[in-house]
Amino acid sequence: MSTVTPVLDLRGVHKSFGPVAVLHDVDFVAYPGEVTALVGDNGAGKTTLVKCIAGIVRLDRGQYLFEGRPVRITTPREASALGIEVVHQDLALCDNLDIVQNMFLGRERRRGMVLDEAEMEEVAADILAGLSVRMSGSVRQPVWALSGGQRQTVAIARAVLGDSKVVILDEPSSALGVTQTRQVLELVRRLADRGMAVVLISHNMNDVFAVSDRIAALYLGRMVAQVRTADVTHAQVVELITAGRSETLEARRDGRPGGRRSAGPLRAGAVPEAAEPPA
């Protein structure tokens, strides 16, 4: 894994709103082909970090590497041009337009001067089918008629269409029904399996464990751990979220008999002090 260059690599990010420090010395990485879950209590700074990544909010200090190259992103347009797509819960879809129009908004296909409606429709249907998404009804229905899950699916399909490299979903399931959540989770996993880097913000630990490869935990604006999901338990992640540290995780990492340190150790981030290895 260490030979793979992260798509997103943020180092030492600081962000304050006026006198209020919201992000403090935050490191964050996301790899292609992986789902990285970004977790933390309310107000921990998750949305702010995502807004920094997406150019909606400007970071005060810190390095931003995209595919290994330093970049300066100051507007959403710049982020989008790099292939970063953000799916917010309050989805920015145009209610009066249909599914196809929403997917192609701003990047319509043309044949000469006229829009190539037939091709756009075919491509839209192909993408939805490729994502194993079942839309009851045609791709020509206006999006106001869609359920929350279907709207989300359209937003995600937009990301696929744009050949995005990074898709960030900020709490996709908070307003969804149970079945829709399942559908979105499987979709998220499929996107990553096709090689995208997916960042998933969620308060639902079950969703996090269902699809993530890595978990990044923010606690009061500090990144307290970025670990491989395969190496942690539910209880440990809850400790990281609520207390900013997990003693069992630190003990295990530092010297569990027989368990060699696996890839993706806790990134130093802001773990206050490492526990002594047991004698």
């Binding site: 075919e122 192909d126 194993s132 149970v178 079945t179 959540t181 399942r182 989770l185 499987e186 996993r189 499929r190 399996d193 630990m205 079950n206 969703d207 996090v208 464990f209 269902a210 699809v211 491989r228 999901t229 395969a230 190496d231 942690v232 338990t233 539910h234 209880a235 027989g258 368990g259 060699r260 696996s262 890839a263």
Partner: protein, 420 residues
């Protein structure tokens, strides 16, 4: 086998099969792509393609969606999906499905029927009359065949069964959740169809493993484990790209791996089997729900998972317990087989999505760090059709092994009249 080199005829047969298999599994492909992937030169590909075309197995045509690249698109070799098909039977405890699946793996048409469960009275439920089941399957299949018309040829049939099946004679040896009383289902069904094709019988979860490996979440993963939840828990293990069958074909009965010694009694007679700790009845029991003859198990399980997601504490506790045992089982499997992927299908797909935190926590603590490092946990990409698609793949085996011969035989031999 004598140690003589393969004859020209054998080589040709092998190549025909390889080409047909390629377009069957991977979809339409140009001659150039075929040549590259099969390691044959263009003129050989051309000869093979024309043989397969003459036999009515493939056809060459322009691609349907022209590539976005400029220039003249080249012809693609496409499987004759509507003219060459198999019959796939899927026997679930609550549901019978029969499908006509075209070459290339397209489900062309299907019939489904709910199976009423015989109410459980202490013993195993689902002990419905096997004759009735075969009648229903045969009737559905015949209606599919009729609809297909005379132009289309049925080249094989297979049935997915939730029980252990002896490889040598396709005999169902044990089906705790569905007793067929020693009936040779495959033979009976084949006679009833009268299409001149045998009906192979195979364990459903083994077929699920094959399907997910060829067309689902596990494409390209040569070591994977498929777990299938129906009333019981079945398993299929693929190692080194091949299904692990064992001495008699009974391999992969993961449902009867003991995860909780002295735990709940299992239909197999043992205690604490994975199936006994995570199966449908246990989940419903823990959630304080009755098994009902009116609500198919799949829906009953989904209802518990949904209730848990909405915050129902009883359902949540039940799901957590089941998830913990399932995680222990998976941890053991990861240690023993070092799979690249573990796939959850059937009702376990819902259980996984609803209890992933418990499952993965157990894997994190119970599996060796090295073995768990790269294992991917996934839900079945073929959804509710994994075992059905697996049956279809199995049914295609003959025609893929010897395409031209099999087709000539089936088209030449007048079909015997179906036995009513």
């Amino acid at each position: 086998m004598m140690k003589a080199g393969p004859s020209q005829e054998e080589i040709r047969r092998h190549n025909l099969g390889a080409l047909l298999r390629f377009v069957h599994v991977r979809g339409p492909a140009s001659r150039a792509i075929l040549a590259e992937n099969l390691g044959l030169n263009r003129s050989t590909i051309m000869a093979l393609t024309s043989d397969l075309t003459a036999a009515g197995l493939v056809r060459e045509e322009l691609p349907r969606t022209p590539g976005r690249r400029a220039g003249r698109p080249s012809l693609v070799v496409r499987p004759e999906s509507t003219r060459v098909y198999v019959l796939a039977f899927d026997v679930g405890v609550d549901r019978l499905t029969v499908a006509r699946v075209g070459l290339g793996g397209v489900i062309l048409d299907r019939r489904e029927a709910a199976r009423g469960r015989v109410a459980a009275s202490g013993g195993a439920s689902g002990a419905a009359d096997p004759n009735e089941m075969v009648n229903a399957l045969a009737a559905a299949a015949r209606s599919l065949v009729r609809k297909a018309g005379d132009e289309a040829t049925c080249v094989g049939a297979a049935l997915a069964f939730p029980g252990i099946v002896r490889r040598s004679d396709d005999q169902v040896m044990f089906g705790p959740n569905l007793d067929v009383g020693g009936m040779a289902i495959g033979e009976v069904l084949s006679r009833r169809l009268g299409l001149g094709v045998p009906v192979a019988v195979c364990n459903d979860a083994n077929l699920g493993a094959i399907a997910e490996h060829e067309r689902g979440a596990g494409v390209g993963v040569n070591d994977l484990i498929y777990l299938h939840g129906d009333v019981g828990v079945g398993g299929g293990i693929i190692t080194g790209g091949r299904l692990l069958g064992g001495e008699d074909g009974y391999g992969g009965e993961i449902g009867h791996m003991v995860v909780n010694p002295g735990g709940r009694r299992c239909a197999c007679g043992s205690r604490g089997c994975l199936e006994a700790e995570v199966g449908e009845r246990t989940l419903l029991d823990l959630a304080g729900r009755q098994e009902s003859p009116d609500v198919p198990g799949r829906e009953a399980v989904r209802a518990v998972v949904d209730a848990a997601a909405r915050g129902d504490v009883v359902a949540r506790d039940a799901l957590h317990r089941v998830g913990t045992w399932l995680g222990r089982g998976v941890a053991d499997l990861v240690n023993i087989f070092n799979p690249g992927m573990v796939i959850f299908g059937g009702t376990l797909r819902d259980v996984y999505l609803g209890a992933a935190a418990q499952i993965r926590s157990e894997v994190a603590t119970g599996a060796l760090a090295a073995s768990r490092e790269r294992v991917k946990l996934r839900t079945a990409a073929l959804g509710d059709d994994t075992t059905l698609v697996g049956a279809a793949e199995f049914a295609f085996a003959d025609v893929l092994a010897d395409p031209v011969q099999v087709l000539a035989r089936l088209r030449g031999a007048p079909a015997s009249a179906p036995v009513p």
